[in-house]
Amino acid sequence: MQLIRRASATEFPPVPTPWTRAQDRARRMPPPVLLIPALAVALLVLSPLVYLLVRATDSGSALPESLFRARTMSVTSNTALLATTVAISASSIAVPLAWLTTRTNLPHRRLWSVLAGLPLVIPSYVGALTIIAALGPRGIVQGWLEGPFGIERLPSIYGFAGSWLALTLFTYPYVYLSVQAAFRGLDPALEEAARCLGMGPTRTFFQAVLPQLRPAIAAGALLSALYAVSDFGVVSLMRYDVFTRAIYIQYQSSFDRSAAAALALVLVTFTIVMVAGEWWMRGRSRHYRVATGAARPQRRHDLGRWKWLGVGYCGAVFTCSVGLPMFVLLYWLMRGASTGDAIHRLFNQAWNSVSLGLAAAVFTVALALPTAILSVRYRGKLTTTLERQAYLGFALPGIAIALAFVYMGARYIPSLYQTVWLLLIGYAVRFLPQALGAERVSLLQISPRIEEASRTLGEGILGTLRRVTTPLATPGLLAGFGLVALTVMKELPLTMMLAPIEFETLATGIWQATQTGAYGRAAAPALILIVVSAAPSLILSQRGFEQTS
């Protein structure tokens, strides 16, 4: 979770003289021991894109027509609407939460600070299912209202409203964690200066504090929006026509891989525009720094009588985002207890999920490392390109990556096909950005001088990496590791298509159960998945808490 805590840290650590900075920025020839693996990783990441291009151009003349249909336009605008509104609402929920848990005397502040990040462990498709069960037109809530109030039907939650609600509730932690880190790193002198200049507390917040937080909010909101754009589970359950769903329907209904690939390419373009926008913003606020660790403890605002309103707010967010899904899952579990899967099968699924998550995390973190080092230590056109294109995994829909590896795996590397190895490669492509982001942030905090010291003491590039860089980057590597493990355990399309036959995970178990509407049976694996992923995320956020306080 540290990735997000520090996601908005500056591009470069403080440097003593402008001259040294020039040296650090000077283009140096990247060493082959790093460049070759980084290029190999880049090829791997590009391969699904190549697959999509090949597929999309299959249909030849039909392509432009399928691209410019009115539907593509409406899908684009729906996607843009969803991404924008989710980013805005996630930020609106997250900023007050971050403020309350870092800068006030909120009762049980530490507890709330951890709880507020927890919705990240709820798979969004499980969350959406439980929201439908609870708030659907004839869901659980309607059942409660029917007796006393005679309400027979709640307004439909399907479509935009439900998708927006679910994605907001389960992605706001991205903004929360990023802003929380920014709050902690904020120099209290700024606020004090504003107060001395005669600004009231409110004006101080909006004019001195909030502008400082902007990059952190933008970074977090981008993650929320990217999630919204790439998520398939929520929009398909909520039946909202955005890119991922349109792509899926195209595959599912017409077996038309060309049209689906063309749509996927439009989605890639869409995502690139989004990410480029954030980069552009980040570029403009280069001198901004957070997470340097304030020298002095920050003053906490006394909430006074508003204390309980603050607790109420945190409680309400937690109830909706974690309480509601847990409640529905427990409700299903009770109801469907008799039809539950055998314990040994659940255990097997949990074991597979956890070991797959850990293996994928190790693999992905390792694959991302050469690219991360190159982009931080050997800045140049080539290395920057390598870094940015590694973010493609964020832009590609899961099903497209899955099919690309099905295609390449079965046709060209049958010895790897339907083995855990190919699945791990697929995960790595998909989740490389998470590992890369965490690694970059922690590498940026290590002075290049320390690595050079090792070189002058007789260690080579790889030895330095092993003896100096890696141990120092451990917190960042761990954060990336935790995040990848967490998301891999929740992942569905790649797992379904690339896992060895009869290799079951908690996620596929949930999917199997929901296929036949056996929600009672879905409840057990879903609850186990949440508990299993909550453990690392709690430890990670706790670590972050101790480090920064």
Partner: protein, 358 residues
Amino acid sequence: MVANSPVHETQSGQRTLLCLSVQKRFGDVQVVRDLSLSVVSGQILALLGSSGCGKTTTLRMIAGLEHIDGGCIEVDGELVAGAGIHTAPERRRIGMVFQDYALFPHLTVARNVSFGLERGDNARRRVDEALDLVGLGGFGERLPQDLSGGQQQRVALARALAPKPRVLLMDEPFSNLDPDLRVAVRREVRDILREAKATAVLVTHDQEEALSTADRVALMIDGGIAQTAKPEVLYSRPVSREVASFIGEAYYLPGAANGDIVETEIGKLPLAGPAVGAVDVLLRPEFVRLSSSHEDDCRAAIVTRHEYFGKYHMIGVQLRSGTFIKAMTGPGTHFGVGEFVQVSSTVPLIAFPGLPAQ
């Protein structure tokens, strides 16, 4: 070739480090041009220059952390850079002490020092030796963060010395220390280097540091070496106005030279070397002697400024021609603003060819 160059005095002994016409560009900026220098075994050379003059880059090129764009670098007669060769830093056996020390924060002091050593009993002994050398015996199990700035500095030194490097490079090693501490640590480091018989290059922008610590000082201006000499020579016999102005305070007085004597508006003054024609002589405040005079004396000058520093007075004097010079006088003397004084020199002076009239 270096030895024959007019700006470099001849020296004897075995050359450990030799840089010849080294060039370095960052983008369009030529940061090091035609740089040549040499260091004799066991000697400490200070590379002195203002910030941005390219001295740190030079050090990094010697260490192998930067590639050179031209020229060559030899260590112990072995070509390490130039002619298409670039020996990786880890294979040069050149130690480096970084400005911010760059200690490994995840390793204890002892592990920091043993980092560059092969494992084994020998290494342990060497670590103890190195730590004893820097006076930190018994600190081995501490973490760098728990040490003071001066102690960290010495750990960095011990770490760099432990593998017995052929040359030790130090990049502004004292700049992160408190001024009080700086002088003491400087002396200590100098003694340590002497004891270790280390060949060292010290980069600094502090001339006092360079002059007091080094056996020889190379003054770097605009990416090139302006003069390399023993500290006292550099101070008293600068080869150019630039060098003279960089080291200490320099004021110039125009005059007409004729052999060992120069005729100036304050009278005839002795020259350190023979010269002929229009020259400017270098007057440093501490070479100037003032004595009381009166307004009628046509050679008298007027005191226009007075600053008191406890140990001495710094007196600003304007000559009749308008030329301004400064004089340092002992604590007992006193010349007030507006008084008339007579100016003379205590030592033979250096003359530079006179600047063409503006």
